[in-house]
């Protein structure tokens, strides 16, 4: 699951257009559109940031850095997406980054005023990586709408640290930095809640799991790959094939060329 620092640096530069240095921890910032990700990003990085485009795409890519406890953190602001089941360019970029770039920590920013919908993305992220922190933002707005969220209870339910924040008021950011540090260094272990699917899906997954077990188990949970196969997610398979090519595994690339018996 761990790329050598050299390989990671190359991968990040070539595939994602991001330059990360050897001793930097990498942090991915994910979330729905309009949840205040930029506010958090700006608050964490200040002026140490710059914006460009994701390679080959007309989508903004913002990266910045900050220091905490004498460690350097590179933070990448992923495009705002409702889901990782990629059907738009933004979703594909976010998904590819989380799947193949292996950031040290992923922070999923949720809008406290519409928790249910935001959890959709969080739960999907949990299926890809375990090193996740949830930042429950816009608590001040939730308060105005008379919504009360039991944060410790949410932490228990999700199995990952949950930080209540009002980024615009500057609240919760110190805690966020601390938690990022703890998860990145491994001081804090997380056990994110896995999605339980209905029986038809679970049965189909059982059928597929043996097949996918070897494909990319060093990077991605087999269950996630099996789910994407069930989805018929072509763009994911393209990205996966591309990634496997780069890492010169012994598998034959060009999955599209295979002739299916059916």
């Amino acid at each position: 699951m761990i790329l050598s620092a050299e390989k990671k640096k190359l991968l990040w530069q070539d595939q994602f257009g991001i330059s990360v240095t050897k001793d930097q921890f990498s942090v991915a910032l994910a979330g729905n559109p309009n949840v205040g990700k930029s506010t958090i990003f700006n608050a964490l990085t200040g002026l140490h940031q710059h914006t460009g485009n994701w390679p080959g795409k007309t989508v903004d890519n913002a990266q910045g850095s900050f220091y905490h406890q004498q460690k350097s953190f590179l933070i990448v602001d992923l495009p705002g997406t409702y889901s990782l089941l990629a059907h738009t360019v933004e979703e594909q970029i976010a998904r590819d980054f989380l799947c193949f770039a292996n950031p040290d920590v992923t922070v999923v920013v949720l809008d406290a005023t519409c928790l249910e919908r935001n959890l959709n993305l969080a739960l999907q992220v949990f299926e890809i990586t375990t090193k996740v922190i949830v930042c429950l933002n816009l608590m001040d707005e939730a308060d105005k709408k008379d919504l009360v969220i039991d944060v410790p209870s949410l932490e228990r339910e999700l199995g990952v640290p949950v930080i209540a924040a009002s980024a615009r008021q500057g609240e919760g950011l110190t805690e966020l930095r601390n938690k990022i540090y703890q998860v990145a260094t491994g001081a804090l272990q997380t056990k994110p809640r896995q999605i339980i699917y209905s029986s038809e899906v679970e049965n189909a997954l059982q059928d597929l799991l043996p097949l996918v077990a070897d494909i990319a188990s060093h990077t991605l949970p087999p269950r996630w790959i099996a789910l994407r196969l069930l989805d018929g997610d072509q763009s994911f398979l393209n990205s996966l094939s591309n990634y496997l090519d780069i890492h010169q595994t012994s598998f034959h690339p060009g999955w599209e060329e295979s002739k299916c018996a059916q």
Binding site: K145, E157, E200, P210, Q262
Partner: protein, 466 residues
């Protein structure tokens, strides 16, 4: 059927998976999404509770106003006029201040050049050409941009903008375009290049292209000074006390014309080269939030100021130098500038302009804000931009060169309906990746502009109104 092969290729796995996927009657994809939401619902039930009774929320109250049948549109128009009025009036004092300061410094520069014994032409190019144009652009361009962009960002942060798309979607639907195009047009008011970039919010490639190709029908901040100056001279100046308001109104009318052009051309494009099904609107209307006024203004103003300064230095300053040279180097009897202007005169006259005006627009390709300075420079044929002259002096200059009310209207129309500036063309290329669309984005507004001015001019002349 699972043979004990140690490794399988991705292709083989895919085939088997497809078998499993298609064996199910219902779509797995739908079920997966429904299941994830099922999980989310369970979690939310555990942790979320609502205190207090059901009461009409703040959001609903505001929305009932701004999207209502009777008040929705008037409020939007009022907002439009309001934003322009604040931009125009708010820019006056900083503009005057900057102008005084920068032009005073220019006199100082002249003294230094004289003291150095520099030859006239060096002084001409550097001080009268480069510096003067730079000063003019900064004094005239910077304040409106530094006010408009923060205002726009405030509106954006407050959550109001999607309501504009909500109110106007049905009109855009008739033009077979997307309601979100109204937002890209709003952005275009600030800067057409920024407007083109903002077209990314439109998902359908076809509708995104329509929005990009028509963005130039919305006049950017760079064209405001031209429009306002001419409006002030020929229209607003008549009632000095209300000139600010009158100018804002005239500007709003011009913009409404631009909106009309956008809608018609969008429709035309949808019917011809960008044919296709209207795609759907899925527009999220976020809650209204009180924007952090201080932080927004700070960040936005600094961003914009830097942008304008950079552009002025990179584009306006060298352009000024080049223009001075063209205006002071003679080919035969006349300067190059005058020669070109004379050559363009027949075409200009046909569409109710003149050669100098047309040339100013052409030379204004790098940046719209230098059109007016170039024009004034050429008219005065001393090859030097006069001071940020009083409106009366400007008016005399124009009238002396044969301007009538028709000329003024045509100049305003042409300013609205002509080719995009170089930055916008470059941005269009970056966003579309194709020279064909860049060329079209150049051609379409130009043809419309020439046609409109031509028709208006001929009709007016025919009716003997001028």
């Amino acid at each position: 059927m699972c043979a004990m092969i140690p490794s399988r290729s991705l292709g083989e796995v895919y085939c088997e998976a497809e078998g499993v996927r298609k064996s199910n009657l219902k779509s797995f994809s739908d079920q997966i999404v429904a299941d994830i939401y099922g999980n989310a619902e369970q979690i939310t039930k555990q942790v979320l509770s609502k205190k207090g009774s059901q009461r009409i929320s703040f959001d609903q109250t505001i929305d009932n106003l701004v999207t209502s049948k009777w008040l929705g549109y008037p409020l939007m128009i009022l907002l439009l006029i309001g934003v322009f009025w604040i931009t125009i009036e708010g820019a006056n004092i900083p503009s005057a201040f900057l102008a005084t300061g920068l032009f005073a410094f220019q006199d100082q520069l002249t003294l230094w050049f004289q003291w150095l014994g520099a030859p006239d032409w060096v002084h001409g190019v550097l001080v009268l050409g480069v510096y003067r144009t730079l000063a003019w652009v900064v004094a005239v361009m910077l304040p409106p941009m530094a006010i408009f962009f923060p205002l726009f960002t405030l509106l954006e942060d407050s959550g109001y903008l999607p309501r504009i798309a909500f109110n106007l979607d049905h009109i855009f639907k008739k033009a077979r375009a997307c309601g979100k195009q109204s937002l890209t047009m709003c952005m275009g008011f600030g800067c057409n290049a920024a407007g083109v970039t903002s077209c990314r919010i439109i998902d359908s490639p076809r509708e995104r292209l329509i929005a990009i190709l028509t963005n130039n029908f919305v006049p950017c901040n760079g064209r405001f000074p031209t429009l306002i100056a001419i409006s002030s001279i020929f229209i607003g100046g008549t009632i000095a006390a209300y000139s600010g308001l009158i100018n804002a109104l005239v500007l709003s009318i011009i913009i409404l014309l631009g909106v009309g052009a956008t809608l018609s051309i969008s429709w035309l494009l949808s019917m011809t080269i960008l044919k296709g099904e209207p795609s759907s609107l899925v527009l999220e209307l976020p809650s209204y939030r009180r924007p952090k006024i201080g932080a927004v203004i700070y960040r936005s103003m600094i961003d914009r100021t830097l942008f304008v300064l950079r552009r002025a230095i990179i584009i306006a300053a060298p352009a000024g130098g080049v223009i001075w040279i063209l205006a002071n180097v003679s080919v035969g009897e006349l300067s190059i500038l005058s020669t070109v202007a004379q050559a363009l005169n027949p075409l200009g006259h046909l569409i109710g302009l003149d050669g100098f005006i047309l040339m100013a627009f052409i030379l204004g390709l790098p940046a719209n804000e230098i059109v007016l300075p170039i024009l004034i420079m050429s008219y005065l044929s001393t090859g030097a931009l006069q001071d940020y002259a009083s409106l009366e002096e400007l008016r005399n200059v124009l009238v002396n060169h044969g301007w009538t009310w028709l000329t003024a209207v045509n100049v305003m129309l042409f300013s609205l309906l002509h080719w995009p500036c170089a930055t916008t063309l470059l941005t269009t290329y970056k966003e579309t990746g194709s020279k064909k669309w860049v060329f079209l984005s150049f051609l379409i507004p130009t043809i419309i502009g020439i046609s409109v001015c031509f028709i208006l001019t001929q009709v007016v002349r025919l009716l003997g109104l001028v």
